[in-house]
């Protein structure tokens, strides 16, 4: 386990100390993943991109529970972000989610499923049309001594499908000057890969303000964990917002969040 720790730490260290080399476009994959060429051809064909270490992708030291791997992405150092596309290099479903932050800051936390060790990409598109790529690694070999979700799965989840919990957390000394919105929805997020269980997952979330204008959007894909919890951040004040979820079966779930 120690060696994995070293790899991960070295990687994070690398992120923080090599800010100098950013001005010129860097197209060398810092993770040396064998999948990068495929990924860029498939998801950003013929578009200009650069690896950008200003984008922070936080991953755990190892995947203690491969169905719940917490990821935090922070692209606030990139000006004029249009959207963030999150990809997993080695996964039956490479697209994880797509976040259009709108009035929120370009950063989010969520959990995802992994099949095996993989790089995770935060592909950040700026309004000028350039992709900035941040990377992180997940080592799926760790854990051991654990079968976390066994016996914990609630057999009665259908009764709670679409139940939403949410809360604004005002800026404090720990969360910084931004207001934080955390929410949770009960949904199985079935990928369709397990025997005889069809794909069943949240596809869309849009967040509307009191005037009914959409101020942020999220598109979710199969790898987002069961019963997703997500954290978003926003400058300025907290306000009454409405979360609109929609799954691939056409179910809609709505919830207002007050300051």
């Amino acid at each position: 386990m120690k060696s994995h720790k070293c790899i991960a730490n070295g990687f994070i260290l690398g992120l923080s100390i090599s800010l100098t080399s950013l001005s010129q476009a860097n197209t060398n994959d810092p993770t040396d993943s064998p999948m990068w060429d495929y990924l860029k051809t498939k998801y950003i064909p013929n578009q200009s991109y650069q690896f950008d270490q200003r984008i922070i992708v936080q991953t755990p030291l190892f995947a203690e529970d491969a169905t719940q791997v917490p990821i935090t992405i922070d692209a606030t150092a990139i000006p004029n972000v249009e959207k963030i596309l999150v990809l997993a290099d080695i996964s039956p479903f490479q697209k994880v989610l797509e976040f259009t932050p709108g009035k929120f800051t370009p950063q989010l936390s969520f959990s995802m499923k992994v099949q095996q060790a993989t790089a995770v990409r935060a592909m950040v598109l700026t309004k000028s049309g350039v992709w900035h790529v941040g990377s992180g690694l997940i080592d799926a070999s760790g854990g051991g001594c654990s079968a976390p979700s066994i016996g914990l799965a609630d057999p009665a989840w259908q009764d709670y499908l679409g139940e939403i919990r949410a809360r604004w957390f005002s800026a404090n000394h720990l969360t910084g000057e931004k207001q934080r919105l955390k929410f949770h929805i009960i949904h199985p997020q079935d990928t369709g890969l397990a025997d005889s269980i069809p794909a069943f997952f949240i596809e869309q979330l849009h967040i509307d303000n009191q005037q009914g204008n959409t101020i942020a959007r999220l598109q979710l894909f199969e790898p987002v964990s069961e019963n997703p919890t997500m954290t978003l951040e926003k400058l300025g004040t907290t306000e009454t917002l409405t979360l609109h979820f929609r799954d691939n079966n056409g179910n809609e779930f709505t919830r207002q969040v007050k300051p």
Partner: protein, 307 residues
């Protein structure tokens, strides 16, 4: 070798390089006498690795006039076999009874070396092993490699709690509590005052929580406090005189519960909480186990702090 390739094949590399260090997979087990007829084989205060072969938990035994009562059998068949050899160097008494404290693989996968003796655990542990036993064994194989060769889940049979042995030197009972897992069996010798506490107690090694219910665990520790054992043999870490190991485990659980609750109330996410430091100077693997515990426990607490 690039970082990505290393993360994929790191385990293979480790098991190749460590197998030579392992010297024919010798765990180099040593028994430490803690009281009359009472011995502990102390595991390493580490996490699973191909260097330690999974030898991270304690096993122990009491040599009685009727035979040896063994508490836990270690992480692999090789460990169990080497433990049996070690016991044979200390006494000619046969193995009378083998106990498994709980479902975790570092405590019961040596059972195969004692298949000619009665091997027992609580009924709840058996029921859990029927569901997850094979997965736990496979998981450990992935982590420590060839040390596990030929190791299989050897199912214990149920045993009632209460007194299991008594003579003029020993008065031994089994006590079933819960909290570290849903069934934690302890062995207590009222005569010598030695309590084999299983994983309800850790000492100078951060407690693990993959199947833990923290409030129940703290209740179990208060039961241990009532017993007032003279010596506590923790599941991980050195045996201690008096109650200090129990107290340290309790203090850690209080810290963990408060930290997770406070963090959820502040709206923190995983990668913020994992930076927090448990204030226990001598405790090994604090950051590692905190990160694991966040996966086991924090998500539910986070959700409870939403409306």
């Amino acid at each position: 070798m690039n970082i990505f390739a290393r993360s994929l094949i790191g385990l293979t590399c480790l098991s190749l390089s460590m197998s030579s260090i392992g010297k024919q997979f010798d765990y180099q087990l040593q028994a430490k006498q803690v009281a009359k007829d009472t011995y502990v084989v102390v595991g390493k205060s580490e996490s699973f690795s191909s260097a330690n072969g999974g030898n991270i938990a304690n096993t122990g035994f009491v040599v009685t006039a009727q035979g040896v009562i063994l508490f836990d059998t270690g992480p692999s068949l090789r460990y169990g076999t080497q433990l049996r050899t070690l016991i044979g160097k200390i006494t000619d008494q046969p193995i009378q009874l083998v106990l498994n404290s709980h479902l975790h693989p570092d405590h019961f996968l040596g059972n195969g070396a004692f298949s000619d003796a009665p091997v027992h655990s609580s009924l709840k542990t058996i029921q859990q092993l029927q569901v997850v036993g094979d997965d736990l064994a496979t998981g450990l194989y992935d982590l420590v490699g060839d040390w596990m060769r030929d190791t299989q889940v050897h199912m214990p049979t149920p045993i009632a709690t209460g007194q299991i042995y008594s003579d003029q030197y020993h008065d031994i009972e089994l006590i079933e509590l819960e909290g570290h897992s849903t069934s934690d069996l302890m062995l207590y010798d009222r005569h010598t005052g030695v309590l084999f506490a299983g994983d309800l107690v850790f000492f100078n090694r951060a407690p693990t929580t993959p199947h833990a219910t923290v409030p129940n665990w703290m209740t179990a520790l208060s039961r241990i406090n009532q017993l007032q054992p003279r010596i506590i043999v923790p599941g991980h870490g050195q045996p201690t005189d008096g109650l200090s190991a129990m107290q340290q485990t309790n203090d850690y659980l209080i810290w963990l519960a408060e930290t997770l609750t406070d963090s959820a109330e502040q709206g923190l996410h995983f990668h913020e909480v994992k930076q927090l430091q448990a204030p226990f100077e001598q405790m090994k693997l604090k950051a590692f186990e905190l990160e694991r515990s966040l996966i086991h426990l924090y998500r539910d607490i986070e959700i409870q702090h939403l409306y």
